[in-house]
Symmetry: C2
Subunit: 194 residues, 2 copies
């Protein structure tokens, strides 16, 4: 068996994750059969499960991958920007519909699967951490209201995010949400109105 | 066949709705079999389907009943109070857990059933109407911020409500949401902060 480079392994792993993301988004977790995962990734089951122990591990890797990317956007631009990306469709290369698909599947399994919930709680902490850290930096820069503790403002933003995900999941129109997110953004800022 | 009074019919209908609510909340729509509906209501299938054409009609009647009660609370006390009732468990006689069960089932079916979505769109309008009317009254009374149109503020509150429902559905702790709802409430009010 030839030795393969780390770059090659990483690229293969990325190929599997990208295909699987589309597949889970389209068919849901239960509906994403091994055959469909093979079609979506263009790889055999042997290749797929060489990189991921089972479907569960693959889905978790995907959800973690998305959570990490979401935390990156939060660090750079804030959680409200994540919501704006969701409602407008996001950056062209980000395939937000697929991203939303994974997020919805996570929400669904959190509701119905206590084991998954416990497992996920540890991993989702990074979004909360990224949100709080960004808010702390905004507060230090004097951009944030200072009459409400940062953890409360972080919980507030995460609650609105859940609302946005739920709204999109229900197929409701999102084009009227832009001014709503302006209200959200403004309500965490240092601000004066009459 | 004896003639029955309207009061009797109404009481029987109420008995069916109350039993069915508990049943749908516990087992979900699919899991609420006719046998389980009989057990939960204490009535035969003949009696149940004398009042409601089929399970679908029964569920819709229940969801409409809840939407109407929710609109009543909104008219009297505002949508933020509906959210507070949800996170604290609500009034003792309201059985909010069952109420949440119906709400979640509605959310789930909105996601997965386009026909139900079209049907529901007409009925859910009353919550939006109640929310907007209350906000209009608050604005006339000088309690509301006046730099954002009422429909935007109504959409904002409905989005946060979706977030609360989703949060509770995922089994996340709700005891830290009280100060978050203070932020929400305050962000629609006429207010000045430094």
């Amino acid at each position: 068996m030839p030795r393969v480079s780390q770059d090659h392994l990483d690229a293969r792993r990325r190929q599997i994750l990208d295909g699987a993301r589309t597949c889970f988004a389209r068919y849901g977790y239960e509906g994403a059969t091994v055959r469909r995962l093979e079609e979506a990734t263009g790889l055999s089951r042997g290749a797929i499960f060489h990189h991921f122990r089972d479907k569960e591990s693959l889905f978790l890797a995907l959800a973690e991958d998305d959570a990490r990317r979401m935390a990156d956007v939060v660090s750079r631009e804030g959680l409200v920007q994540v919501m704006r990306d969701l409602i407008t469709g996001g950056e062209a290369d980000e395939r937000p519909a697929d991203w939303l698909g994974t997020r919805l599947e996570v929400s669904r399994r959190l509701r119905t699967d206590p084991e998954f919930r416990a497992h996920w709680a540890q991993r989702s902490a990074q979004l909360t951490t990224a949100t709080r850290e960004r808010l702390e930096r905004q507060r230090e820069a004097g951009n944030l209201r200072d009459d409400v503790p940062v953890p409360v403002l972080a919980s507030y933003l995460e609650l609105v995010l859940e609302g946005v995900v739920s709204h999109l999941a229900m197929g409701l129109p999102a084009d009227d949400l832009e001014p709503v997110l302006d209200v959200v953004e403004e309500s965490v800022r240092r601000f004066r109105r009459g």
